[in-house]
């Protein structure tokens, strides 16, 4: 079975871009439009990796990461934040919440695939 990745972003175009890149590499991609929706989806199904935006309505990315880490099934699932915001304080907050990495937008698709490949293995 293909590895599954959950892509979380409230911006449809951005979500589709990330999803397209990952689908192109053969991953099974599910999409959520904000942290709250992602958390609900993650509770019903364990994804192999999560790529999430930070700034979203209802629940932001860092809070999603923190919430996912409270689920036993997400102990060892890589959670990557993909955001235009790259301030050191926010990154530190993401790290403390349990994020695996922080990637800046605009992102380089090859670099994203490279990282994803290393963490879904």
């Amino acid at each position: 079975m293909n590895k599954s990745i959950l892509v979380v972003d409230d911006t449809r175009s951005m979500r589709k871009m990330v999803a397209t890149v990952l689908q192109g590499a053969g991953y099974d991609v599910a999409e959520a439009a904000d942290g709250a929706e992602a958390l609900e989806m993650a509770k019903g199904r364990v994804f192999d990796l999560v790529v999430t935006d930070h700034n979203m309505p209802r629940m932001n990315g860092v809070t999603l990461v923190r919430s996912l880490r409270t689920l036993a099934a997400y102990d060892d699932v890589a959670l990557i934040v993909l955001s235009t915001e790259t301030g050191p304080e926010l990154k530190a907050e993401g790290r403390a919440a349990g994020a695996t990495g922080w990637m800046a937008k605009p992102f380089d698709p090859t670099k994203m695939l490279d990282i994803v490949r290393q963490f879904v293995a």
């Binding site: 175009s13 199904r45 935006d53 990154k91 922080w102 937008k105 380089d108």
Partner: protein, 672 residues
């Protein structure tokens, strides 16, 4: 972006299309929030929503290489970030600058889409936004500082000097000094300066590597209040220096990750592993995963095609029913029941398809806050706009056509209706005027009201103006009759000509446009209390209730809404000289007669306030017809507004009553 990267992304035009749509939505949302929020005390929710919209546009435009958009939304976002974090109080200049920025982004998007030839210059607005953001007084921030582990104690004098220095920059508190080898010095400091300044002061006493600084109040307004506390300051203090790669910061190396995972899995019992695998196998799409399918985007062309096809189906169904009606009793019963079902399903299908074209009137209303704001500023008036019934739906085609007339009415209300604050106060009214826009569905019509509490119509002045133009009314004419005069071409009651509403062109154009939609306009007013204009239009343009008449072997359709009555007339009732127009006496009125056929049936019709009698051979019936554009299928013909296909498959032309009545009216006037 490298070639390989571009390849990974594939065809970007698909994303561009999504982005254009999305950008329009976000820009509209930004504008709406900016206009509707309370400037004195903007809600965090509004500011966050605006921030997110700008942020979204920035993110995707960066990916698509739309650097001008990305740069402008970036400075916009900076200003919004200060606002939403309460580091800056919202000013009117902020709102104006953000509105302009939105406009420019809109233009730039239009340019990228190919709808605008020139790329707008965004530098001025970018500088303005930056200036606003830079002019923000720096807010005080709190840092947790740890110096250590110390290789050796810091000299007491140096430590005092450093603390005194920090005291000058801000306030130091919660000191915990273990000034021994291997110990550390911890304290909190609140200051307005940058973290880098703090770091450089601290580095005067200890090696830079021993300086650990964490933000204590790194608030992200979108994070629930409890969230920052769950990340202990210690963790923040231990945060590493920014990674070398600004685009990617891995908190765990892939190797460490794999090892940790391997050991985790080994540690987890086989049972649990099985359980987990079991759960994975039961993977299935969850309701949440389908959230996107709650609505889909469909092009207007596809819907129009669907509407047309359903129109054909309705006609075919009517044809079958008619043929069947001819056969009637010979048909077997099963066929009859089947036909009834077909009729019912067709009607339901038609309704369902028409409902797809329905759009909430908020699509029109949303433009008015901006209009009202700009106009009232320009005219020095204070105006509050109240909207209601925005969810009322009407046909998409109508939405486009009703926008101009409504805009005109709102402009009129602000320009001519509402008084300036001084006049209002003198009249014992509140300083600010109110304009209410409401929409509701009443039967097959949408009724839209534009109400203002301004000076109202001046009966005497309208009558005087009308007299100047040779229009006379009886002295005891009712107000309603007097108000009708404002729909006459060239009659404006504005004392001064302004560039906002102009002179004279206005209400007559509004009425004509509304009548083209088979609707009507009514005015109610009381001097000093304001005016209400009520616009009523049919829900949809595609299907109308029509009267069908026979003329010279052809069938014509007349919109039932314009038919007043029909009756048989004797030839001697029609008077006048042939070729110069005839009149028919109906009660006390002499109506111009338009002969369509040689028959003796008169259909009295009304349009644009004028009445005429159409002579036809016979009345055929009354039915719903699907309106087809003649222009689109053939060419425009004066006097004909469209065509429809009748139950027997024949084409019937739909008469343009307004045109015919005007022609008839002109004919009879020549005679006078």
């Amino acid at each position: 972006m490298t070639q390989a990267a571009a390849k990974a992304l594939g065809d970007v035009s698909a994303f561009q299309a999504i982005f254009f749509e999305e950008a329009d939505e976000h820009l509209l949302a930004i504008e709406q929030r900016l206009l509707s929020m309370d400037q004195a005390a903007p809600s965090t929710e509004d500011l966050n929503a605006i921030f997110r919209a700008a942020h979204s546009i920035k993110g995707t435009s960066g990916m698509l290489g739309y650097t001008e958009i990305a740069e402008l939304t970036h400075v916009l976002e900076n200003l919004l970030d200060l606002l939403r974090k309460n580091e800056r109080a919202l000013t009117r200049r902020d709102v104006d600058a953000m509105l302009s920025a939105g406009d420019l982004v809109k233009m730039q998007v239009a340019h990228r889409r190919g709808a605008l030839a020139e790329s707008p210059d965004m530098r001025a607005i970018q500088a303005e936004l930056k200036e606003l953001a830079d002019a923000t007084p720096a807010a005080e921030r709190r840092f947790a500082v740890r110096l250590g582990p110390l290789a050796e104690p810091v000299a007491g004098a140096e430590l005092e000097m450093m603390l005194a220095g920090l005291g000058d920059m801000g306030r130091v508190s919660a000191r915990e000094v273990r000034n021994v080898a291997g110990g550390d010095i911890r304290f909190e400091v609140a200051l307005t300066g940058a973290e880098a300044d703090l770091r450089s002061v601290l580095a005067l006493v200890v090696a830079p590597g021993l300086v650990h600084i964490g933000r204590l109040d790194a608030v992200d307004a979108t994070v629930p209040a409890a969230a920052p506390q769950s990340a202990p300051p210690a963790a923040a203090i231990d945060a590493p220096a920014p990674a070398a790669d600004p685009e990617l910061d891995l908190f765990v190396t892939p190797d460490a990750w794999r090892k940790r995972r391997a050991s985790d899995r080994a540690a987890a019992g086989a049972d649990e592993e099985e359980q987990r695998t079991g759960r994975r196998d039961s993977d299935r799409p969850l309701p949440g995963a389908q959230a996107d399918s709650a609505s889909i985007r469909v092009s207007v062309e596809k819907i129009d095609r669907l509407v047309n096809l359903v129109g054909e189906l309705v006609i075919t169904e009517a044809m079958i029913a008619q043929q069947h009606g001819d056969l009637d009793h010979q048909a077997p019963h099963g066929g009859l029941a089947g036909l009834r079902d077909l009729a019912r399903h067709t009607r339901n299908l038609q309704e369902a398809v028409m409902s797809i074209r329905m759009v909430p009137i908020s699509a029109v209303f949303t433009r008015f806050p901006r209009l009202v704001r700009e106009l009232s500023q320009r005219l020095g008036k204070e105006v509050e706009l109240k909207l209601s019934g925005e969810a009322t739906e009407l046909d998409r085609g109508l939405i486009e056509k009703i926008t101009d007339p409504l805009t005109h009415l709102v402009r009129n209300a602000i320009d001519h209706g509402l008084e300036v604050p001084e006049q209002r106060l003198a009249a014992g009214k509140p300083r600010g005027g109110t304009i209410s826009l409401s929409a509701m569905q009443r039967g097959g019509n949408i009724v839209i009201e534009v109400r203002d509490d301004g000076r109202g119509l001046d009966r005497e002045r309208i009558l005087a103006r009308a007299a100047e133009r040779g229009m006379r009314l009886a002295a005891d004419a009712t107000d309603a009759e007097v108000w009708q005069l404002i729909f006459e071409p060239g009659l404006s009651t504005a004392q001064s000509v302004t560039d906002v509403s102009g002179r004279g062109v206005g209400m007559d154009v509004v009425r004509r446009n509304i009548q083209l939609l088979r609707g009507n306009v009514e005015v109610d007013s009381r001097k000093g209390e304001g005016m209400t204009v009520t616009v009523s239009v049919p829900l949809t343009l595609a299907i109308i209730e029509a009267m069908t008449v026979a003329v010279g072997g052809e069938i014509y359709a007349l919109p039932l809404s314009s038919v007043i009555e029909s009756r048989r007339v004797a030839p001697e009732e029609i008077r006048g000289v042939a070729g110069q127009g005839c009149t028919l006496r109906v009660r006390d009125d002499y109506l111009p007669v338009q002969r369509l056929g040689s028959g003796e049936i008169a259909v009295i019709v009304e349009a644009e306030g004028a009445t005429a009698a159409l002579m036809v051979d016979a009345l055929v019936g009354q039915q719903q017809i699907v309106v087809k554009s003649l222009e689109a299928n053939f060419r425009r013909i004066p006097g004909i507004s469209g065509a429809t296909i009748m139950g027997d498959g024949k084409v019937a032309l739909i008469l343009d009553i307004a045109h015919i009545v005007n022609e008839a009216d002109r004919g009879s006037r020549i005679r006078h």
